[in-house]
């Protein structure tokens, strides 16, 4: 019976349509592999080309880490003392998906450090229109740290301000 089934299988797999389907699916996998890897890793200046993605997520253990933080100093007439971080600011100040907004803040911080004026303007508009509500005075801060040490003690190796901005001003 197994032999008969095998003959039947060979017959249908020889059929060009099924052979073609198998090749199409295999090519699809190969194309996604290369296009995905290229999308994330090789195309300069490109964030990623959805739905292609290289799937490089948390690929290396951070021996040292850095990040850009947005601190809110004032909202409308209210001064916030101490300043509140973007992730912890109330919903009256920060709107939208904060974790997506945080990623945009990282791009903004990098653009500020590189002096990319036009890009800073675009990213500031994106942050201020999509994630901040009303008139907000905020500061961009760069921090460098050992993750475990910072988690346990709050200490940074390095911390510096990249400047203060007010929603809608200077754009």
């Amino acid at each position: 019976m197994a032999e008969g089934l095998g003959r039947e299988y060979n017959q249908i797999m020889r059929a060009s349509a099924l052979r073609r389907l198998r090749w199409q699916l295999a090519c699809l996998i190969l194309v996604y592999f290369f296009a995905g890897a290229a999308s994330q890793k090789l195309v300069p200046g490109v964030d990623e080309i959805i739905p292609f993605f290289g799937w490089s997520l948390f690929s290396k253990v951070p021996n040292e880490e850095s990040r850009y933080t947005l601190l809110v100093h004032r909202h409308e007439a209210e001064i916030l003392e101490p300043p509140v971080s973007f992730l912890h600011a109330p919903d009256t100040i920060v709107t939208g998906n904060r974790y997506v907004g945080r990623k945009v803040i990282q791009r903004l911080g990098r653009a500020v450090e590189r002096g990319e004026t036009a890009r800073v303007g675009d990213l500031r508009r994106l942050v201020e229109e999509s994630y901040l509500s009303g008139r907000v005075r905020y500061e961009l801060v760069f921090e460098r740290y050992d993750p475990v040490r910072k988690w346990k003690t709050g200490a940074n190796f390095e911390q510096r301000s990249l400047g203060q901005f007010t929603s809608g001003e200077g754009l």
Binding site: L18, G54, V61, E65, P147
Partner: protein, 309 residues
């Protein structure tokens, strides 16, 4: 069986099996039903999308730059809803499956056109593309010819391969990362007993909040050592499993547990992925009718050769 050469004889049995074909039909229908559920659930977000600003269109929705954004966004939302309805009514037609895929892609592109991309939605869209290749008659009740059965199961295997490819790619970068860090002389890699704990600490700092088990793991880093290495093994060799049905269930469960684990220690949730892993791997129509632990152990990547001795 899969388009790869099977590890064991039996391709004919698998691809021509009527029972396995019916199982695949049911699972694919379930996938499309879930899309309908997602589309219905998205209605809660319509108001936010329609009142949103600061749009930075991703390439699939580049056309939003040339139309009234509000009208364009509304069109995408209605298309997504239509796609959900088509998914549960007319997925037996290829044209409908193409529209469904386009609706998924457009909706995902809209969702990620506000600055950054999250990766929990990608698999659903990729599976939708692979399923376009289903043959005519795949969804018919009653007797289906052997070519329809074989083609349907082949496409199902293709969907499994697409899912597992993404995990293998993730594992590949992690394995490469270990090698790169080791070459550069960095102290901490995923092979270090405190490696995973450092990654967890970094994520909690990035989020400015503690995950459920993250602080505990940072205080007891050695507990994450072997699970971290096991996670890389599961990811790296995921694609190997396509041609080894004895491992479908275990790998699907393992990867789903990986997502549960990363949610508990790093606060990163991939609930959609756990659903697709359950439908396409844990419930795989190719899995043996009677599980054989001996065969599964022998099929394990790298370890299997050693265990077979």
């Amino acid at each position: 069986m899969a388009f790869f050469r099977p590890a064991h004889a039996g391709s004919a049995t698998l691809l021509l099996s009527r029972d396995r074909f019916v199982a695949a039909q049911t699972l694919v229908a379930a996938y499309y039903a879930v899309l309908f559920f997602f589309a219905a659930g998205e209605l809660f977000s319509w108001r936010d999308y329609l009142s949103s600003g600061g749009l930075a269109p991703r390439w699939p929705v580049f056309w939003l730059r040339f139309v009234d954004p509000k009208a364009g966004i509304a069109a995408i939302l209605w298309l997504h809803l239509l796609g959900g309805i088509l998914a549960v009514t007319l997925s037996r037609y290829r044209w409908a499956r193409i529209v469904i895929f386009v609706s998924l892609l457009e909706h995902m592109a809209l969702k990620f056109s506000f600055g950054a991309v999250n990766h929990g939605d990608h698999l659903g869209v990729l599976i939708g593309f692979v399923l376009i290749f289903l043959p005519a008659g795949w969804g018919a009740r009653g007797e289906a010819g052997r070519k329809v059965r074989a083609a349907t199961l082949l496409v199902f295997s293709g969907a499994q391969a697409m899912i597992l490819l993404t995990y293998s790619m993730a594992g590949m970068w992690k394995a490469g990362g270990v090698l790169q860090q080791w070459i550069m002389g960095e102290s901490f890699t995923y092979l270090h007993p405190a490696g995973l704990a450092r990654q967890v600490a970094a994520k909690m700092i990035e989020d400015d909040s503690a995950s459920v088990l993250g602080p505990w793991l940072v205080e007891h880093p050695w507990i994450g050592w072997l699970p971290g290495i096991a996670a890389i093994y599961l990811e790296l060799f995921a694609l190997w499993v396509v041609a080894r049905p004895s491992l479908h269930r275990a790998w699907g469960l393992g990867l789903a547990l990986l997502h549960l684990g990363t949610h508990l220690v790093m606060g990163i949730g991939f609930p959609q992925n756990t659903l697709w892993l359950a439908l396409f791997l844990v419930l795989s129509p190719f899995r043996p009718s009677e599980p054989s632990w001996r065969q599964a152990a022998g099929d394990l990547p790298v370890l299997g050769a050693w265990l077979r001795r």
